[in-house]
Symmetry: C2
Subunit: 307 residues, 2 copies
């Protein structure tokens, strides 16, 4: 099985109450790929500038990530984001965004990238997401993330893009904004009427909820006493979720989807323990499985009749 | 086993996007008692005015609630709250509060109320909570709710009151505010160092989390497509939680605490489906158990090795 993800490959400057980094590897496709790399073969697709060097490629390659879809644009600058979090780590304050080479990005995927069994369209302009989706006809399972900017400025394109994927993965507030429906369960059902068979509502520290045609499943965020930088948590969640499913051969029954929610939660929790990619890039599968089991123990309860 | 709850017994005026009621039975001790009544013998304690009549007593008595702790003050007016919710049902906008007979409340519990095995101190002034706690020496398990008003105006009293109970049950933002600690897991641990052996963080539609000395457990809110009035959800949660535990003979091991979280979640979910006490006052134990089992199915997942 193989997984293609398209999205930002970037440098981030981040300040939180617990530290700061002036320039570190980041971007949705990077966080997604690192998380997914524990489960399957993953290929990030996107442009970078000359400033993206051997050190950055090495972080990805050490995790076995296929980097042949990363297009280095001569004379260009990589996507750059500068943000700040105050004590409420659920809210990112963007201070600067420089699209760099992303401003001219026209996705032309290689044959290998197009042949992926699983496709994830990280948060980029929805027309670009649709171009990529159209090139990946072999994908048996596809997902899409987005943000309030595109809901507000490209709503029609975004709805068309959503209609073409199997699974929408966005923040719960964005599901409400997308549908104009304040009740989350109704909003998720409205999205499923557009096409997707699954909707994941990311809820920050509260975890994530999965809506399917005949099911609902939710997990809390893994409780952590040290959270240093939430940047990339949602992308790490998606990487764990889609990575696990692809690694399982694409079996999408309810039991697999729930386990994938667990792996997504675990990868997101490791991601936020340190800045940027620092924690996930030196993570082990054993640590992941131990935390998965801990999460399972934290969420199980018996029926009274089981006494 | 028996359960005493002290708190407001009130009339509420509530407006939400889904309807309004100009005057209906409400108050923390009322919502708590109705929820707990499905599991054990519960006795609400608090003052009411002449305006609290046979109809209001009948709602309680039909559920087998012991009303001998409700003190009718001649010439007095019952506690009254007027509030409004907009589409974000997590936020109550208080428009009027009239303490009425609560302004002069000096708790003097009957021998029967004092003999309770389980005690819940709903949200009232913390010195009053301490007076009640001191009268209930027989309680083997005690809980306390509070609010930002008391954190800000009576913080020392509140901390003393918390130190004297087994279980704090407040909103997650209040746990942070109480302790000055933004990380919820650390904040809960700080509270446990004051005395309680358990801390429940209520999280509105996101559910609730239970922190104990060596455990963490969390449940999502039960997903509902119809939420009409969230007033009393937290008190219904507490009523289900403490009611179930008391009804089980006060066994407080981890398995019982988790099941109690499940019943709390279920009672809160029924409470918000309609205005005030309308839904819970005609609820059946069969409906509760069916939703408890549905909640259990929505939160369980297997380890990959179970495949």
């Amino acid at each position: 099985m193989s997984l293609t993800v398209v999205g930002s490959i970037a440098f981030d400057a981040v300040k939180t109450p617990f530290g700061e980094r002036e320039r570190m590897l980041g971007g949705a496709a990077v966080h997604f790929s690192l998380a997914a790399s524990f489960f399957t073969e993953v290929r990030p697709v996107g442009p970078v500038g000359d400033d993206f060097g051997a050190d950055e490629f090495a972080v990805l390659e050490r995790r076995g990530i296929l980097t042949d879809g990363i297009e280095q644009v001569a004379g260009g600058q990589s996507f750059f984001w500068r943000g700040r979090y105050d004590f409420d780590l659920n809210v990112a304050h963007t201070e600067d965004t420089q699209l760099g080479v992303f401003a001219e990005f026209e996705p032309k995927l290689s044959a290998a990238a197009q042949a992926a069994d699983t496709l994830f369209l990280a948060n980029i302009q929805p027309d670009l997401q649709r171009q990529v989706r159209a090139q990946c006809g072999a994908a048996r399972f596809s997902g899409l993330d987005s943000m309030n900017l595109w809901i507000e400025t490209a709503g029609d394109s975004l709805r068309a893009a959503i209609a073409e994927v199997d699974c929408l993965v966005v923040n719960d507030a964005e599901i409400r904004q997308l549908t104009g429906e304040s009740n989350l369960a109704r909003a998720a059902r409205a999205v499923m009427e557009w096409g997707p068979r699954a909707v994941i509502a990311k809820q920050g520290e509260y975890g994530a909820a999965l809506f399917t045609a005949d099911g609902f499943f939710a997990l809390p965020g893994f409780p952590l006493e040290e959270v240093r930088d939430p940047t990339g948590a949602g992308d790490s969640f998606a990487g764990g979720f889609f990575g696990y499913l692809d690694g399982q051969g694409g079996d999408l029954d309810e039991a697999h989807l729930r386990r994938a929610m667990g792996y997504g939660t675990v990868l997101a929790s490791f991601n936020v323990e340190e800045f940027g990619t620092e924690r996930v890039s030196r993570l082990s599968r054993e640590e992941i499985d131990a935390r998965f089991e801990a999460l399972r123990r934290m969420t199980q309860f018996d029926a009274p009749s089981a006494l």
